[in-house]
Amino acid sequence: MNILVCISVVPDTTTKISFTDNDTAFQTSGVQFILNPYDELALTRGLEIAEANGGKVTVVHVGLSDSEAVIRKALSMGAEAAIRINAAPTDAQQVASELAAIAGGYDLILTGRESIDYNGGLICGLLGAALNIPSINVVTRIDYINGTWSFDRDIDGGKESVSVQGPCVASAQKDLCEPRIPNMRGIMAARTKPLTVLEPKNNASGVTYTQFELPAPKQGVKLIDPSQAAELISLLKNEAKVL
């Protein structure tokens, strides 16, 4: 069984977001970059399934060499091999087309539900469409039972269970598993695991980010005395007009 996990590198969740060059680029200086939390879940569950069924997990990342520390982290969690496609990621469609070029032949492909920076949530569907295999978004359970993939996924207003025979791509949602923390042996082993660098094949272009902006700051909070809390309801009705 061969499992491919697509990983992205994102700013740490505590990052204060700001922009440079007249708000046309994300300010990366002083920002700590991490393995996307949803990808961490995808990888952990992929490893668990591979270990239980005798399989191998490969991770793939589209990005430049500054991502290698994060790729090594994925290897230290237990992935056997890594592929880095040497292109700066600019858009989900560009990333998906590069991933599709190497993603054929795997039994299961996993991604995170979305990256926590650009929040596109598109890679799973784009990759499924490009490889002409089913895509199952936001899964909270993955099992491999008698040759069939079985998933629970979040849907609008509930959950559903689905099954798929044959290769498919799924995106990981929280609740899938607890993220695995690399141990010392894993960290040592990761140093010598293969990390293959491939040049981009498609050089597809998608959308272009032209301008960034921050939300307008709040005007200041209006405080209400806790003993007169009922007043809040009338303010929301008559002043804010949201009730």
Binding site: N119, T208, V242
Partner: protein, 312 residues
């Protein structure tokens, strides 16, 4: 040439977010002189409702596609978009919409943007505003392909009505999926969090899951959905599906009431697009008060009963 809106029909009704998308498409069409086509893939069709909300024409699929699956529905929708010579395809950024949109975009070789929060800017090229960094910022993106696919965040555009009717055309498009739906569990009688106009949310200050009755009562009375902070879902007090914030759901209601939530940067990311924010917290230094429009510095267990009484 047309603007196609994918209409979600579920549990016997049209989704509010689909009517928002339709209203936005019509408002856009007024300046670009395009026709708005509402495409409905399942269920019975009411072209009158869709006409009132902006459709010039309704294209209804008369064949049964079976349960929702991104691959088969994506193929069917793409085919119907081609039939109507779609230039822009607008899909709601719901769970199903977001799984469908990239598959449609691939079929149509279209540029696409998800998490779109306002009407496209068409005076100079085609640009849309989308939320990024889990709500901490916005980005303008340029789409240049002949066909464009957008996933519009719910509550981004108000529902509007036109005193018009739409023409109805039925088509037969079939597609099959290898995804087998085994079972569906819907939470009945609850307002879906991503679409709710009012959200009441609880944090660690609620002290335990046994006190959630108060959050639910207030939410029921206000017609609101319930949500929670990350620690609350991590501790298992509430399901993860209610977790709003950077690693949970990003929401955009008209009113967000946060009870006993301090307002960590990751939580604020998920709710900062709310129109009006109310923070209720014992700690006057809680960061939420800096992000709120209204605040009560007080104990949740004293404040909530008063709010419940006042909103009866």
């Amino acid at each position: 040439m047309s603007l196609v809106v994918f209409i979600e029909f579920a549990d016997g009704v049209y989704k509010k977010s689909s009517l928002e998308a339709l209203s936005m498409a019509r408002s856009l069409a007024e300046s670009t002189q395009q026709k708005v086509v509402a495409v409905q893939l399942n269920g019975p069709c009411d072209s009158q409702i869709l006409g009132q909300h902006g459709a010039h024409k309704v294209l209804h699929n008369g064949s049964d596609l079976g349960a929702f699956a991104a691959d088969s529905w994506g193929k069917a929708l793409a085919q119907m978009c081609q039939e109507t010579q779609a230039e822009v395809v607008i899909i709601s950024n719901t769970y199903s919409g977001k799984s469908l949109a990239p598959r449609v975009a691939h079929e149509l070789k279209a540029d696409m943007a998800s998490q779109v929060v306002s009407m496209p800017e068409t005076s100079n090229g085609f640009r849309v505003k989308r939320s990024v960094f889990s709500g901490k910022a916005f980005a303008w993106v340029q789409l240049t392909s002949p066909i464009k696919v957008l996933a519009l965040t719910p509550n981004s555009f108000p529902i509007q009505t036109w005193n018009e009717s739409a023409s109805l055309e039925t088509t037969q498009v079939s597609a099959s999926s290898t995804i087998q739906v085994e079972s569906v569990q819907k939470v009945s009688g609850k307002i879906p969090l991503t679409e709710a106009e009012i959200v009441v949310s609880g944090g660690r200050g609620m002290k335990g899951p046994e006190h959630w009755g108060m959050i639910e009562t207030l939410a029921n009375q206000l017609g609101a959905a319930t949500a929670c902070s990350k620690p609350v879902s991590d501790m298992g007090w509430r399901p993860h599906s209610e977790h709003v914030g950077q690693t949970g759901i990003t929401i955009k209601p008209n009113l967000y009431i946060a009870v006993g939530i301090s307002g960590a940067i990751q939580h604020l990311a998920g709710v900062s697009s709310s129109k009006v924010i109310v923070a209720i917290n014992k700690d006057p230094e809680a960061p939420f008060f800096k992000a709120a429009d209204y605040g009560i510095v007080g104990d949740a267990f004293e404040v909530l009963p008063q709010l419940i009484e006042a909103s009866k």
